[in-house]
């Protein structure tokens, strides 16, 4: 049979997250800017099932000073070069680095040290650059090997061990192997196998080889082989052959090599798939100071080149908190509500008008549901009385800036501190109000403010009205209705609260009033026909702060109410988002408490129109009411006026206290009511007079 070239299966690097954690730690706390070579350790094993590549593992323990490979694994000495910059990583001389480790191996061979400590033949080099801001790691492994002047050759085809040895011989070999390894603290990757004429099998250290050579014994050079291929040995043999050639070539021309593979199943060792090679040695003498050295690892594209791994998902604390929040919510889905559409909630961009007690608590509750975009609008600053009730503020917010920090900005910053994954923004903005006339000089500013509010509403999916006056809710109600956004409204009295969703009309062109002749279900109102915050009022919003005393200008309510109302407002929004009909989810009018028995039509249950709470009785009602065709905010007339008249229309509303009532027909309605009352009285009088006269 002809000779053919001996080819080795290369090693593949296998890292675990712990390795990168430890490297990052060391870079920050130990190495600093020190780029000098550091000692690390890898390990390999010889027990893999068929089909597995040869692997070199590096783990958390790679940095241990007293490194001990895991059970039945073999130590590989490593040199780590961690560069401070990506440029250094790219530009450093790769050949020189490889030669640095190659020289170590060569010295251990020529000095004889590797005879007594053959594990020195097993070396790796790791070049890294750690971008600890992005958690990107650039790395490149080399498993340096010294090459002979002419490649090693195989004299005959590899032989399977079970073809060479009987099963009883293999049993004895396993016993001998265990016996040999038990004398060492770490498993030895290189050894010799001695076969005597009287069929004794023995395993011994390489340095004892002279006891057996030239006697009536057969000596095989054995090594623990991580390779699983039937026709090739693994990488660790290369430097072993270099050592063997250096010491025994040309006196030995051919050697037998046992590629020892030991698979364990149910506690039993199987070595039958090990292979025996007959290798023709070659000269290691060289005129240079180092034989040819090879060994850089190929990357995933099978090119000699570095790799990069992005570990931000498992190492960046911000990413970790994001995935932890998501997982927590997913747990709810897996365990209780398989139909819950979390994605729908997460991607809902929420605009919070008002960053006071309601705004703070609504924002916190939205975070809990995984909402990622939250924008606060407020024109106030944090005052001394705020932090105790407004859960995103602290004392420092009142003192840091004279007069206190902007509420919207402080709230957004606090939210980001709680959860860096949130996109929180604070906008310092005044909301123009009907009946609060705009002075000549402020018209331009007001116009800009209105425009900014419109843009904010456009760029969000849901809006919360959490402002402290009734009339400040008017403008956002109108814009929200015109843009068909989800509008949630929460308002507090002293011990009563209101939480509601505004009806989202399907088409502004159709009439507000129910279609004539259509049978109405009195117990249920479709979401598109529900009223807004202003629908129940027969007076237009005006200046409600004008005649107030000082204490009325602050929110005077039982402190717990804000938490209750905020939580209900968020839960109501989530219920809308989870209902198959969305904003058109019908609302039960809950007459006779029927809502307590009604079937759930969405994973989270009912979607009421309003929640009215009475804390003095710890009681809640869930009324629903239709949109009012003369509503000063959401009626067709007003929306049309706004859509067609734009800022000019709004300015008229701000400046003329009666404009809205005139426009919607409320003035007329008031007049009719008065007339009717007068008429009624007249009639009564007439009737009674008639009565007395009879």
């Amino acid at each position: 049979m002809a000779e053919f070239q001996l080819q080795f299966a290369p090693l593949s690097s296998i890292l675990d997250g712990g390795f990168w954690h430890k490297l990052s730690n060391n870079k920050l706390n130990v190495y600093g800017l020190d780029e000098s070579p550091k000692t690390i350790h890898g390990f390999y094993c010889n027990g893999d099932p068929p089909g597995m590549p040869c692997r070199m593992n590096l783990e958390y323990i790679a940095f241990d000073v007293d490194f001990k490979p895991p059970l039945r694994c073999f130590d590989c000495h490593g040199t780590l070069i961690n560069t401070n910059t990506i440029d250094k990583f790219k530009d450093c001389d790769k050949k020189e680095l490889l030669a640095m480790v190659g020289k170590k191996i060569w010295q251990s061979i020529t000095s004889g040290e590797a005879l007594s400590k053959p594990d020195l033949l097993s070396q790796l080099l790791l070049l890294t650059y750690a971008d600890l801001k992005k958690y990107h790691y650039y790395y490149w492994f080399a498993f340096p090997c010294l090459c002979p002047s002419e490649d090693f050759r195989l004299v005959r085809s590899p032989q399977k061990l079970h073809e060479r040895l009987t099963s009883s011989q293999m049993e004895r070999l396993i016993t001998a192997y265990d016996e040999f390894q038990s004398h060492h603290s770490n498993h030895q990757g290189y050894f010799i196998v001695v076969e005597t004429l009287d069929d004794v099998l023995k395993i011994d250290s390489v340095q004892n080889i002279s006891e057996y050579l030239n006697k009536n014994t057969k000596v095989l050079f054995g090594f623990s082989d991580p390779c699983t291929l039937e026709g090739n040995p693994g990488w660790p043999l290369r430097n072993y052959l270099a050592l063997i050639s250096y010491y025994w070539y040309p006196s030995l021309q051919e050697v037998e090599v046992l590629c020892f593979r030991c698979r364990i199943k149910d506690g039993n060792c199987d070595i039958s798939h090990s292979i025996v090679l007959t290798v023709k040695l070659s000269s290691m003498t060289t005129e240079a100071d180092l034989p040819k050295c090879v060994g850089w690892e190929k990357n995933e594209r099978q090119k000699l080149g570095p790799r990069m791994v992005n570990l931000s998902a498992s190492m960046d604390p911000v990413k970790l908190s994001e995935s932890a929040v998501d997982l927590n919510l997913k747990l709810m889905r897996w365990r209780l509500l398989p139909d819950l559409d979390l994605e729908r909630i997460t991607r809902t961009r929420c605009l919070l008008l008002g960053a006071g007690t309601l705004g703070c608590n609504v924002a916190r509750c939205l975070l809990g549901w995984g909402v990622r975009t939250i924008t606060f609008v407020d024109n106030g600053s944090v005052s001394y009385s705020n932090p105790v009730r407004q859960s995103l503020f602290v004392f420092e917010d009142c003192t840091k800036v004279p007069g206190g920090r902007s509420k919207a900005e402080a709230a957004a910053e606090a939210l980001t501190k709680i959860f860096p994954g949130v996109k929180a923004r604070g906008v310092n903005l005044s909301i123009a109000m009907p009946g609060h006339s705009v002075p000549e000089g402020s018209v331009e500013q007001t116009k800009k403010d209105v425009q900014q509010l419109e843009e904010l509403i456009d760029s969000h999916d849901a809006m919360f009205l959490l402002l402290d006056t009734r009339e400040s809710r008017w403008l956002p109600t109108v814009i929200g209705a015109a843009r068909k956004k989800i509008v949630m409204c929460a308002a507090l009295g002293f011990d009563t609260f209101l939480v509601m969703r505004h009806g989202v009309k399907k088409d502004m062109e159709t009439d507000d009033s129910p279609v004539k002749g259509q049978m109405l279900d009195y117990r249920c109102i479709p979401g598109s026909q529900l009223g807004c915050y202003f629908c129940n009022d027969v007076v237009a919003p005006g200046d409600s702060t004008r005649d107030r005393t000082l204490d009325q200008q602050c929110t005077v309510s039982r402190p717990g109410m804000s938490y209750i109302a905020s939580a209900q407002a968020v839960e109501l929004l989530v219920s809308i988002l989870q209902h198959p009909a969305g904003t058109d989810a019908p609302a039960d009018i809950s007459v006779g408490e029927e809502h307590l028995k009604a079937d759930h039509c969405s994973p989270l249950g009912l979607v009421p129109h309003q929640i009215r709470g009475f804390l003095s009785r710890f009681h809640q009602l869930l009324p629903a009411s239709r949109a009012f065709d003369k509503c000063t905010a959401c009626s067709r007339t007003v929306i049309k006026g706004y859509l067609e008249g734009g800022f000019g229309f709004l300015l008229q509303v701000f400046n003329e206290p009666t404009y809205l009532e005139d426009l919607t027909g409320l003035t007329q309605m008031h007049q009719d009511t008065i007339d009717a009352e007068v008429w009624d009285i007249d009639e009564d009088e007439e009737f009674s007079s008639m009565d007395t006269s009879s």
């Binding site: 296998i14 890292l15 597995m52 040869c54 050949k95 040819k292 998902a313 997982l327 365990r335």
Partner: protein
């Protein structure tokens, strides 16, 4: 102790027993001790594992940037058609830690790609064998969540312990049986953690 749960002392006894059995049959369980003295079991293994999606690779350095490749002499002594090019491997690390509030052992695990990247939860689910996926839909004893490891402080996946005692209360406590072995042979295979039959032998 409530049905299906065990005390910390009993956990330690079972763990020692399991380690003896592991050593006896050359399995790879090790007992680990944290710097603060907490004890847990650990096993690692690397197995060939085809991930459903091709591993999403960030652009590599040399794709966009000019890297000085090593001037390396041609090395003909390398197996060209190597299995490493086609086989992807996943390294599993399993930890068994005692949880005092549930009074049950908890299985923590991480699964890494060769470059050290953690498998995402979706990828972990994708490598759960199909017949277990079907079973998981029916049975509620396993939920995989990601948690900070109680001892190491790094993120680990966890089989949620809330149903462990329910599961274990259905397994009779016969003399010679080991709580940890019974439990791990029930839940382990879901996560590619195989327990050989020999753990059932009485030694």
């Amino acid at each position: 102790m409530a049905a299906g749960s065990i005390s910390e002392k009993k956990f330690a006894e079972c763990a020692i027993h399991l380690l003896e059995k592991s050593a006896h049959q050359k399995d790879h369980w090790t007992g680990e001790k944290s710097s603060s003295g907490e004890v847990y079991l650990q096993k690692r293994c690397t197995i060939p594992c085809q991930l459903p999606m091709p591993t999403t690779r960030e652009r590599t350095l040399s794709d966009s940037q000019n890297i000085k490749e090593p001037v390396e002499d041609l090395d003909e002594a390398v197996v060209q058609d190597n299995v490493s090019t086609s086989t992807s491997m996943v390294t599993f690390v399993y930890h068994v830690v005692y949880n005092a509030s549930y009074a049950v052992p908890v299985l923590y695990f991480n699964a890494y790609k060769p470059d050290g990247q953690l498998l995402s939860l979706e990828e972990v689910w994708a490598i759960v064998p199909q017949h277990y996926q079907d079973r998981l839909r029916e049975e509620r004893w396993t939920f995989i969540t990601q948690q900070e490891h109680p001892i190491l402080g790094r993120p680990f996946y966890q089989l949620h312990p809330c149903h462990t005692s329910t599961l274990m209360s259905q397994i009779p406590d016969t003399p010679g049986s080991n709580y940890l072995i019974s439990w791990m042979s029930a839940v382990g295979p879901v996560l590619r953690l195989e327990m050989s039959m020999r753990y059932g032998e009485i030694i």
